[in-house]
Assembly symmetry: C2
Homo-oligomer: 322 residues x 2
């Protein structure tokens, strides 16, 4: 169904983006990726192999002059980019609004001008709801974010809906839980899973903020990719879907899994909890299961194994080069 369509991916060189682009190319799509900085061909080749259907465009998605020519002729836009993080967005709320909100509205206006008829927008199931009143959290749960990041994601969702209502641009918003998988780096703030595994593999101490009982919904990257594919194919009227595994995992559960899979001698250091963390977040994914005909396929243990294997390979490669 997606074959021969041309898809514009913003954030296509990030962790999720790389997986999405590979999946789209494998399905026979043409893919255009916008990147803020010029990326050498060798690096692109290293990420995706030689791909006649892949085009990288250098430009800033918040800049209309960059966007208009870049979008021309595409069928659909997938927007995965963000300029801020949940943990630090409160330190510069104005920048968050200017870049992510005004930038994305600019994108929607440019899509309208170029007659792009669909957007798939990656929102955040971990921040738009704020402190949950109950779990699992369905899409109708109140939305009271406790970070600027969450407010801006929510406002973008509302503009997506507005553009669908006013101008007929189909919008599918995916409120994603915590994604993890190969391709995440263990030394960056992309989530705890690769960080914990990297520490465990290198014999360093895993730092846990709080008592380790914070519950999150972790989703394996392949399940994210399949959800985005399902969103691309979706033709219905619904606009907002939770995308997660639908189950809760404590930080201590991750440590326990790593003890079984890597070894018992893993070091853990508990530090005072951060006030910004909600204590429990598990998404109700039944709407996506029903409407998108999608379900997560990878359970946490299998996913963790894949990440361990990937990061262990990297360790070996690093040692060979050093």
């Amino acid at each position: 169904m997606l074959e021969n369509s041309e898809i514009f991916v913003i954030g296509g060189l990030g962790f999720i983006g790389c997986h999405v682009v590979r999946s789209l190319l494998a399905q026979g799509c043409k893919v255009r990726v916008m990147s803020r900085t010029k990326v050498p061909d060798a690096q692109i080749h290293n990420m995706f192999g030689y791909q006649a259907n892949l085009k990288i465009v250098t430009g800033d998605f918040t800049c209309k002059e960059d966007l208009l020519p870049a979008l021309a002729g595409c069928d659909t836009c997938i927007h995965l980019a963000t300029t801020t993080l949940p943990s630090t967005s409160n330190n510069n709320k104005i920048f968050d609004i200017q870049s992510n909100l005004a930038g994305t509205v600019q994108l929607l206006e440019a899509m309208r001008e170029q007659n792009i008829r669909k957007i798939v927008y990656l929102s955040s199931g971990g921040t738009v709801y704020g402190n949950p009143i109950h779990v699992p959290i369905s899409e109708t749960h109140p939305t009271n974010p406790i970070s600027s990041y969450g407010i801006v994601k929510l406002a973008v969702e509302k503009y997506c809906y507005l553009f669908q209502e006013l101008y007929g641009i189909q919008s599918v918003v995916l409120r994603l839980s915590n994604p993890y998988g190969p391709g995440q780096t263990g030394n960056r703030i992309q989530g705890v899973v690769p960080v914990f595994i990297e520490k465990a593999l290198t014999g360093k101490s895993i730092e846990i903020w709080g008592d380790g009982n914070v519950v999150r919904d972790y989703i394996y990257i392949d399940d994210v990719t399949s959800a985005i594919n399902a969103a691309l194919c979706y033709q219905g009227q619904e606009t907002v879907f939770n995308i997660g595994h639908g189950t809760g995992t404590r930080l201590n559960d991750i440590v326990d899994a790593l003890k079984v899979l890597i070894g018992q001698n893993i070091l853990v250091e508990y530090k005072p909890g951060r006030s910004l963390d909600v204590s429990k977040n598990i998404l109700d994914i039944s709407k996506a299961q029903k409407c998108l005909n999608w379900s997560p396929q990878v359970d946490f243990e299998a996913g963790i194994k894949a990440v361990i294997s990937s990061l262990a390979d990297e360790q070996v490669a690093k040692k060979e080069f050093s």
Copy 2:
């Protein structure tokens, strides 16, 4: 309770603002009003009489350099200003975001810096909900605005909540229905009531977009003022309240009322309906009644009579000067 407190009012020279400022002064408050343009003393005197407790500060609320000194020493901020209208905000969404959203977040940051501990923010019960699934609309109704104006109001609400949660600045958000009353001008887009009355008084044709069965919740200005006073006194944890009359009135009902109060020979011209109008909006005000101990006191007929009397006086004054 409000006596001797110093209140900063943004939008204090507008239709609602004037009434609020008069009410605050009458209660013994000190009031500081921020105005974008320098207003002559004679005009201020004309609006409020001589008031030792009133100070007008010239400045732009979206400009931090103007705000910081202007806010110093105040206890509370009432934010009534907007730079856009529901009907035209979709024509410049970026401006709406930059001025009203980024501007108000700037204000909240300035309040934090100046240790102002409370904000009363005027939101919009007519736009934040979008097309109602059911009426009357309670605060928990889904919020899917069909105008940028509504999205920005909603996003500001979320930032008010964020500042309460993170920094302890108490936020009271009032989702106002359609206010009307003396002081609205009949030749501006401040609502249909004064426009209809002005047309009827001058023998011109009343233009109705659609079939006149559009239902709105109209609230008299004195009931708005008393709601803002109740919000100023409120010390509880709730942040969002619907403020309306809680009843629905069709455009045709207004015409019928004017026929009774002014005369049967009122001309009405029906024009094709605007797609942006939601068909029915009536607010459920039970939360405000319970928590703020507030209720509207003026019914539609009494309110309309007051506006007719006020606009008729203006007509007489105009004729005397012409």
